[in-house]
């Protein structure tokens, strides 16, 4: 469905690569999980935890802050969220909804 660009080096955790990203300012996100990119006309559906992450990133949180916030609010462990968050952010980058800062 999505034409994903090759995602490399998934084994590297977030902290190791010290990656911080920003959601592009023109990307619209609704609370219900609807994401619209006016520059391409593409729209996406995101699950609630994904919305939360995107909103945190929009508010200029660092990936480290996002990780901590998710850890606090959800029943999970650091390893899991580290892996999933890294992968999610890679997708946002590949879809050009986010950019590295």
């Amino acid at each position: 469905m999505l034409s994903w660009v090759l995602i490399t080096s998934l084994s590297e955790g977030l902290k190791k690569c010290n990656m911080n990203v920003r959601i592009k300012s023109n990307v619209a996100v609704s609370d219900s999980g609807f994401v619209f990119d006016p520059s391409t006309g593409d729209s996406y559906s995101v699950n609630p935890i994904g919305v939360e992450i995107i909103q945190l990133l929009k508010e200029k949180s660092s990936t480290d802050d996002v990780l901590k916030s998710i850890l606090e609010r959800y029943e999970t462990d650091e390893k899991t969220i580290d892996k999933d968050l890294f992968e999610f952010i890679q997708l946002l980058l590949n879809l050009q909804l986010a950019e590295k800062v």
């Binding site: 469905m1 999505l2 660009v5 995101v46 699950n47 994904g50 029943e75 899991t80 999933d84 946002l92």
Partner: protein, 452 residues
Amino acid sequence: MTKLRYERPIITSLNGGVSNKFGTRSLHEPVSHIDGVSVKEIIAQYGSPVFILSERKIRQTYRDAKRAFTSRYPKVQFAWSYKTNYINAICNIFHQEGSWAEVVSIFEYKKAIANGVPGKNIIFNGPDKTEEDLRTAIENDSLIHIDHLDELYQIIELTGSLKKRPKVAIRVNMDTGIYPMWDRFGFNYENGQAWDAINKIILTDKMDLVGLHCHIGTFMLSPNAYAVAANKLSDLALGLKLHHKKNIEYIDLGGGFASKNTLKGSFLPGSDIIPGFDEYAEAICTTLLNAGFTKDDLPMLILESGRALIDEAGFLAGSVIANKRLSDGRRALVMDMGVNLLFTSFWYDHRISPVEASGHHTENAVIYGPLCMNIDVLRENVTLPPLKKGDQVVVHTVGAYNMTQWMQFISMRPNVVLIDPEGKTHVIRRKETVDDLNKMEEMPSHLKSFKI
């Protein structure tokens, strides 16, 4: 503060493209209970993976099928196809419901006898019956369905040394408009082989020709093919009456009714397109009633339906071992159950449901089994909520052929659990152990020790 249930973050494109071929129907709704019993608890008690069978569903499906036929035809008899699922407890459910046994090897034959099925209620099909097998079947008055002339001659020879007259039928193959035509079993109708075989049996006068049998194929989506088959067998039966003044006791139309599974490559889910028992019954019974038999000569109708009676009553529950993303971006789940347990995943797109409820967001994934083998794929593409290590899923409609064709390859077979109509669970086949398997092996003395 209690924490929220964690789910992997996902993002899915909403742009046109090829839509999900199953439309918006949500086939990924959670299935937390089977017959009121928690799947989570079954896994906790019996391990993961585990086969689960619903006795209630088996009986209900059998009764539906029986009603479809007995409401249209006066003499109907089902014979449980052992190879479809020959776990003894399953066979006995069908026997309690009134089914005879249909077997295709001496192994299955012995299982039926050990289960307590009277010899005269066992139909012995298949091309591979040894002299010893035939002798046993004749002595037990079982119904021997002759597959080829060599078998026919062997039975004639055996009658010289036996007191009993064998009860036989011949298996007939024919063109029913279905491709591929199963012409490797039995005697052909169109080219006259079947009629020849009938004449040989009558003229040698060493055995009683009690029936005519066919099994035109499996997962037959066309009820009309059964009408054609019933017509051709009736024609042979009426020919026998006309030329030899003999009646046959039964016409056996075999099995092959489709179960509610989805064949690979099918555009619609099986549950939307497969004919119901009523449609098969209408085609078959109408043909038999109009074939030209007098009321007294109407043969008994035997059915050897397998998959349609048990597939839906079977489930395989298992757990996610890992999830990963493939080089082309696809999501992949590795499960603790693979093609070693689910032979039918080679030809069906089995429905898979998560056990626990999750958000309504889903993504497409390929589902792998645990084997170190490239062929170990349960589903090439299935829509599921994001699952993580340890999450459990239920694979549906796996009651037919998996618990007989499963492979002891790389890992051992798991527990098979039956849920009885009161909701109590019973192990009906315990999981294999290394000891079970090693017990069958012998070590030559020169290989007993080594130094590394």
